[in-house]
Subunit: 216 residues, 2 copies
Amino acid sequence: MAEEGESESVSRILPSSLLKERVALDTSLFVNPDVKNSLGANPTEALNVFLSIAAGIHTHEFYMPPSTFHELLNFADKDRIDGELLLILRQKPPKKYELKCPAVLLYELIEDMRDRVNRGLRVAESAVRATEKKKVDEIIQDLRKKYREALREGIIDSREDVDLLLLAMELDALLVTADQGLIKWAEKFGIRWLIPEKFRDYLEAAAKRSRELMQS
Amino acid sequence: MAEEGESESVSRILPSSLLKERVALDTSLFVNPDVKNSLGANPTEALNVFLSIAAGIHTHEFYMPPSTFHELLNFADKDRIDGELLLILRQKPPKKYELKCPAVLLYELIEDMRDRVNRGLRVAESAVRATEKKKVDEIIQDLRKKYREALREGIIDSREDVDLLLLAMELDALLVTADQGLIKWAEKFGIRWLIPEKFRDYLEAAAKRSRELMQS
């Protein structure tokens, strides 16, 4: 943790908080097995590793929408998370009634949904035909999985996704997520995003620079 | 049709085209059986009745996006439509790359789709279970109908819908449509809309006022 003397020297180097780089984080960073492993073996450990590195970074502000933060707490062991998380990971919802998005995105969202709806129907039809060979209960389980894949994957499909996307837009923040649907939409909105596997390297580089700034 | 002398006197009364009321029309007005009957027995007749009244209206400009116009031509007997339609019903796409929409609508669109996707899955599941009682081909036909109802009704789900909505927004036009999904979205966007069954009355009132203005 930064000591008082250190914080003061940082505020001399960076007089305005506007100079701080903003970063918007997704739950998936701490939960998605492909990504969280670079931080820790489980969500709680991944969060604690993030905290221990982020506490030494004075050049960045980390944000998460409350909806996403709430989701994250469901995955972590609350008793093993340091209260400092509440200071370091700022919770802020986007100004959803003020922000505007390009109308052309409506076309993309709607055409994307049309494709998915058609794919969902094809999944349903083959499930019905499969009843000639397999048991109904087995088919329904399979149907649920395939239907969800056809309709949900690679799309922003929840309030939490929209919150994170709009928050990154509002703050002109760097978005860090392991969710491909969100990355696809970050591309449409012109939001900066980081390859999620590189998040730990990014944090460590920022911590190193913070130390160097303090020494100079 | 307006004669030259008439047009001139109108332009003395209304020096600026800005004074003209703009109206954005949907195909559904001429095709939807509940609504078109107030204009004519079939789409071609409905269009011709619209043309004959609209030709006498100098206070309004009628618009339709090209995508919607194209759709309309599929329903009408092209040989029986007067070329004047091309003058009276202006074809204009919305400036889709310039227009912005409130970001909060993303939440509504996405939550609406989530509900529908869940409903679609329930429809698919009961179709699979129905195979224990009915024939597969019969069930599939029923599935297609119910699935489309669950996922499509009351939603803007096509490029044409978005075109019309954005065009009305861009022109600050009165939207006239028989599509409940479009009306629901016009409400969200603050776009003026007319009860579609009243469209003929609206046209006739506008024609009457145009005649009165000419005489005064």
